[in-house]
């Protein structure tokens, strides 16, 4: 009971302090801007720990953060191969193949109008297929290993990337295209020197969306058949053995991976499309 009271006290106290930091006279400092979300995150974790221990919630329902951290560091030897299997092989493999083929298809679609009218609805249909339905089928076609997970990621990632790239390739004004024409540029020169760089903001938009879809696709696809490693496999079997602390440790790995992946693409975007209004402060 004391712990629950302490949890409430910590929550109120931290909220008040954070509010003062965010709205008070210190709010301009860069360090304060970094500290406010960190303090909020830390408060949530502390309150979680105190409430779960105070109310004596069974660990098979919700484990406290301390055991999750213990499981994370204690099982590093298991989590690292799982990460490699799911992310490095499944998600990244599918991401590269999916985004790459979407880019090439978009160039084709842009060149030939009848392809645009035909392929985009098909792509729309493919994207709408639920992965809990497609994953078992793809496992049957491509086997249990990372190839089927990459295939699921390709199906999920292809359409958003295609739509974004097609939209980006069309986003040049008539004036700009005419200018290239006056320089006597061929179709390919116009494509690589004008339209492709102009499409980069859209392409990166698609790439960022694809990062989250890739990780989700790879993890969920592993629920439907996998060798005995992989983040999805670990979550599924740990639930079965009631090792909820391991489940949460895998969730932490997936969250860190997803954030880092998205952040990496966003950083690349900032470097390559610095000229775009969305990148200016």
């Amino acid at each position: 009971m004391i712990l629950v009271v302490a949890a409430v006290a910590v929550w109120i106290g931290a909220w008040a302090f954070n509010g003062w930091l965010a709205n008070g006279r210190l709010s301009g400092l860069a360090s304060v801007r970094l500290a406010v979300p960190l303090i909020f995150g830390a408060t949530v974790i502390v309150v979680w720990e105190l409430i779960v221990r105070g109310l004596q919630v069974p660990p098979v329902i919700l484990p406290p953060p301390s055991t999750i951290v213990g499981a994370f560091f204690g099982n590093f030897g298991i989590l690292w191969p799982d990460f490699v299997q799911t992310f490095a092989k499944g998600a990244l493999g599918g991401y590269v193949i999916g985004c790459g083929s979407a880019l090439l298809t978009a160039i084709l679609v842009d060149r030939y109008d009848f392809l645009r009218r035909g392929l985009l609805p098909v792509g729309n249909f493919m994207a709408a297929l639920p992965i809990v339905g497609t994953a078992p089928i793809l496992v049957m076609w491509f086997g249990f290993d990372w190839q089927s997970k990459a295939a699921v990621v390709v199906v999920m990632v292809f359409f958003p990337m295609l739509v974004n790239t097609v939209a980006g390739l069309r986003d040049t004004s008539a004036m700009q295209r005419d200018l290239m024409r006056t320089y006597g540029a061929s179709y390919w020169q116009t494509l690589f020197k004008l339209r492709f760089p102009a499409a980069l903001p859209f392409i990166f938009n698609g790439l960022k969306i694809a990062t989250t879809l890739a990780l989700i696709g790879a993890i969920v696809a592993e629920f439907f058949g996998s060798p005995t490693r992989g983040l999805g496999f670990r979550i599924s079997t740990s639930v079965g053995t009631l090792a909820l602390d391991m489940v949460w440790a895998v969730i932490v790995v997936a969250a860190l991976t997803g954030t880092a992946f998205y952040g990496a693409v966003a950083w690349l975007e900032r470097r390559m499309t610095f000229w775009h209004p969305s990148q200016r402060k």
Binding site: P58, P59, V60, I61, P136, V139, M140, G143, F144, F223, F224, G225, S226, P227, T228, F233, S236, T237, V239, G240, T241, L242, A243
Partner: protein
């Protein structure tokens, strides 16, 4: 207004007998099928009603861990296999076996004959499909006793997390798969494979069988006299249902089909399943045989470097309920 009041009073009076019955919620280990026929029969034939019980049967399925449902208060009693229950007990979930309707194990490993597998040592270098979610323990225990590592390579077995179908065998993605005598083995035969194309290892014959479907409750609940009394009546009626099902397998299969909300089960499949299940429940009156229990515990403890349980369990079962129910 008068009509409303009198209707309400009538409903209350007529509903009173139902209110007087005690509620029990049972969490099944898997989807509705003849594996759980005894309970559906007891519901259908009124055995639970005779014991003044209002029983609700919750179907399980993929990604439903019955232990979690029990811990969260979603059910009073669950069906689980003994290895999984003992492992959960070690993990901190205090569950106790109150009845054991299944006397023998139906777990098997079915292999293609052309892989050249004739004995367990031939598993080295092969790919084997294993169920997880609590069903992996008998296999891991067996491999540990044989001294075969399960992380792949030429000297060990490569384990595939098998879904709940027989495709890995049919698609040749695995050399062997886990099957139950009453379910997946029949599915393999239905797919057109003949028995002389297969080599089958029954866990019972190899000597590594563990006890399967048993009834489990939370230890804290068992301390409550009212709960214990409900469980006594529940076990009595359930065992009556099981014995009825053994004697009338086709009718029991039809009762299961009637209770199948998903509509996914077929009559032929359920009748065959009931026939096989009857072989597993035969010889048990519901009371846990301590010799069987000890055999399972020794099998699990003999797991070498990676035992399923690390210590002899204490207080994992009780005869208190079955003594009161069957006498």
């Amino acid at each position: 207004m008068k009509k409303l009041v009198s209707t309400a009073a009538l409903a209350a009076v007529l509903g009173a007998p139902a209110w007087a019955a005690d509620d029990v919620t049972l969490q099944l280990k898997w989807v509705t099928q003849a594996q759980f026929a005894g309970y559906y029969v007891a519901l259908d034939q009124g055995f639970y009603e005779e014991e003044d019980l209002n029983v609700k049967i919750l179907a399980g399925g993929p990604d439903i861990a019955p232990g979690q449902v029990l811990a969260g208060g979603g059910a009073d009693v669950m069906i689980d296999w003994l290895p999984s229950a003992l492992a959960a007990r070690e993990k901190g979930l205090p569950i106790v076996n109150i009845a054991q309707p299944f006397k023998t194990s139906g777990l098997m490993l079915t292999c293609w004959k052309d892989t050249g597998i004739t004995g367990p040592q031939d598993f080295r270098g092969k790919t084997i499909g294993v169920w997880f979610f609590g069903n992996e323990y008998p296999f891991l225990s067996w491999m540990s006793q044989e001294g075969i590592p399960t992380d792949g390579g030429e000297n060990g077995v490569t384990v595939l997390k098998q879904g709940f179908n027989v495709d890995p065998l049919l698609q040749r993605q695995a050399d062997c798969i886990s099957t139950m005598t009453y379910n997946e083995f029949g599915q393999v035969l239905d797919a057109g494979v003949s028995t002389d194309e297969l080599v089958t290892f029954k866990y019972e014959d190899v000597g590594v069988a563990t006890l399967e479907d048993g009834l489990y409750v939370l230890e804290s609940n068992l301390a409550d006299a009212d709960f214990a009394d409900r469980m006594v009546r529940f076990v009595r009626a359930s065992m009556k249902g099981w014995k009825w099902a053994e004697e009338h397998p086709e009718d029991a299969a039809m009762i299961v089909l009637d209770n199948d909300d998903t509509g996914a089960q077929t009559e032929a499949h359920q009748v065959r399943m009931m026939g096989e299940i009857a072989k597993l429940t035969a010889g048990s009156n519901g009371a846990l045989d301590e010799a069987d229990y000890n055999r399972t515990v020794q099998t699990l403890l003999a797991g070498g470097s990676d035992p399923v349980i690390t210590a002899e369990p204490v207080g994992a079962w009780t005869h208190a309920i079955t003594d009161a129910a069957l006498n």
